[in-house]
Point group: C2
């Protein structure tokens, strides 16, 4: 089984030109089969504000109405995706930008309306990641760069969380590759003490996770991240690593970040 | 040599939802290897206006300053490209959207500043169309959908005319495929009498072109279109057909439009 590295970066780094440039340099120097998944970032909100859109949130989640969908398709699928691709190309990395609609790579269903209508938000359907095109591209040395967008198969684009995209793609490819999934976020890893940025927990196993949750060490935003990570591991992903984009090489070599086993 | 059909659509059809939907249905029903190149349209101007950008024109050409580049990358590479791709997917056509940066498909140089600085506008470099990825995708039955954007290989996207993209790609692929290039525009073809929409000239050969120009039958905007068409023919493109998107099947079967030989 060939190795595949799948790296996810979020809004924090996308919004910071210097950090993004440094990360893309580091990423371009990696060897072997790899993919990048990127999130959104404040730039969508900024452009939305300039367009006079009012961002609507329910329980901390943005509601993707018609105009917001247009906004995220433009900004995630156009501006951010093509900026990353062009810069990777300049660094000698043969990147190709994709949304879930391109080559039908990721099919989703619009999230059903229960108490809340989140609008044009997509949940990846079962067996919705079509790995053939990704394999074809990876086999040619290309580096897919995935925007956090899927499609519904009926002509509509859908907004889908980048962590979810990374996880679903990693799971789907786990039958074909030995997949390592790296989630970059704002801290050096999962911390023992949230006040101490150096207190990185080096490894978390399932049984630790339950204890760390019970103790309150892991809480709020980290819980869904780790749930996702364990779910990926159970689905056959070889390793999930959580840490800071600045430490990319350390995350991969095992010198930095938190490893989920 | 396998056949390849390359269809270019412009802003007129992209700006009209009903016409675009009908065209995409027709296009999705075609058989065999095919590609679509799309232009921009008023939607970029509308969004630019809402963002408070002032479109600047010199001699009828839009100047692509930094903010306009962001706008066209968003709108052409994101909004329009992904809308077309998602709708083709819904119609059973396995489309994949690409800009020139994706897979380094089309490399360009920023147009040199002489009397006028057009800004971030790209002229496709010699041998700048890299056909390998296109061949790979076409060979898998995928349908590339090209946005009118190229890249400079130094990390910058560039705005490039869609007619030029279509022509350059057709020329580059002419060594590998028997390429038919269809330019859709607002009229049924090149007209004998501009006042009579039915007076389509069915065929134009090089010697006719010189005469039609001298007579004034062909003038203004049609001249560069036909110059491009003859240049493609000289480079080995099998046929160039000019006509209306509504007549797509007729254009291909030889029942409609103007054929350039």
């Amino acid at each position: 089984m060939n190795d595949l590295l799948l790296v996810k970066i979020g809004g924090g780094i996308i919004d910071d030109p210097g950090r993004l440039a440094a990360f893309l340099q580091d990423f371009s120097r990696l060897q072997g089969s790899r993919m990048l998944v990127h999130g959104g970032g404040k730039i969508a909100t900024d452009i939305g504000d300039r367009l006079g859109l009012k961002s609507k949130y329910i329980d901390g989640r943005r509601v993707t109405d018609d105009e917001t969908l247009q906004l995220v398709v433009m900004v995630y699928g156009g501006l951010i995706n093509k900026d990353i691709v062009a810069r990777l190309q300049a660094a000698g990395c043969n990147a190709i930008g994709l949304t879930g609609a391109d080559g039908n790579v990721i099919a989703a269903d619009r999230r059903p309306v229960k108490e809340v209508d989140y609008g044009h938000v997509g949940d990846v359907i079962s067996a919705g990641v079509h790995t053939g095109l990704l394999q074809l591209l990876l086999g040619q040395g290309l580096v897919p760069v995935l925007a956090p967008l899927t499609h519904d198969g009926k002509g509509g684009m859908l907004n889908t969380n980048a962590d979810t995209i990374a996880q679903e793609v990693a799971r789907a490819l786990a039958d074909i590759y030995a997949v390592r999934l790296v989630y970059c976020f704002e801290k050096k890893g999962v911390l023992h003490d949230p006040e101490d940025g150096a207190s990185v927990i080096r490894e978390i196993r399932m049984q630790d996770f339950e204890r760390l949750k019970a103790e309150g060490t892991i809480h709020s935003g980290m819980i869904p991240k780790l749930d996702n990570a364990f779910s990926a591991i159970r689905a056959g992903v070889k390793e999930v690593i959580i840490g800071q984009a600045e430490d990319l090489h350390g995350l991969i070599s095992g010198q930095a970040g938190t490893k989920i086993l």
